[in-house]
């Protein structure tokens, strides 16, 4: 992990990729990450975001219902007391496009956010936290969906 991060930060081309992916901290509005938002599956999203496979962590507090009456609106929330977390990304494993959103936190806000997502079917939902120095942690929960909410 350490070696890879060193390699990544040394490589200008990769650094540019990370910058384009909007993962590096303290960035003003970057271009919308099309590749990440069109990727299908957790691994593809992580690859498009330029981050390595995250470690599960109890320090990421992830709230989601066990069952969603309708997949069109699923309330979720993530927060953490860990210092240095700059971004939280929400991924819905089985969605046609897995990445729902990425939130970027300045020092002026708490590292916590609640939002509502769409889920096409019962799936694992992940809250992936990325720190300023490239550590990636996650928490996940399976949410059962009784009626899918993505298409007609």
């Amino acid at each position: 992990m350490q070696t890879r991060r060193d390699m990544m930060t040394r490589s200008a081309a990769v650094a540019a990729l990370l910058a384009g992916a909007g993962v590096l901290p303290a960035r003003a509005q970057t271009a919308w990450n099309k590749a990440a938002f069109e990727a299908r599956g957790v691994d593809a999203v992580l690859k498009a975001l330029g981050i390595a496979k995250p470690a599960e962590s109890p320090d990421i507090v992830f709230t989601a219902p066990d069952i969603a009456e309708n997949g069109a609106v699923v309330p979720i929330a993530a927060s953490t007391a860990l210092p240095g977390v700059k971004r939280i990304a929400f991924l819905v494993e089985k969605n046609p496009t897995t990445l729902a959103g990425v939130f970027e936190f300045s020092d002026a806000v708490e590292t916590s956010v609640a939002t509502r997502i769409k889920m096409g079917e019962t799936s694992n939902v992940l809250a992936v936290a990325i720190t300023g120095d490239g550590k990636v942690l996650y928490a996940q929960k399976e949410v059962k969906v009784t009626l899918g909410g993505c298409g007609g």
Partner: protein
Amino acid sequence: MSDPMRIRAQVQGSGAIVRVLMSHEMETGLRKDAAGKTVPAWHITEVTAALNGKTVLSAQWGTAIAKNPFTQFVVKGAKAGDKITISWVDNHGDKRSDEATIA
């Protein structure tokens, strides 16, 4: 012309809880209309929240954020009278910005 957002910002301790309801279709691009034609994707792509003009939170959204999105976050070191501004841009290039005063 989009409808105004509903922003509620309330002091809590030394900060403020901000709750935002946006009016937006958030079409996935997967849905078919009654005639069988696919309804094109139409969704918010970027969101920013500013406290007294300074960006404190930003986000990039895809099609899997729910229609009429609701977002809640907590601003540190905010007091009654401070201004919260929420802005969004969608994939059509439409924008919207609304402001609320922390109560």
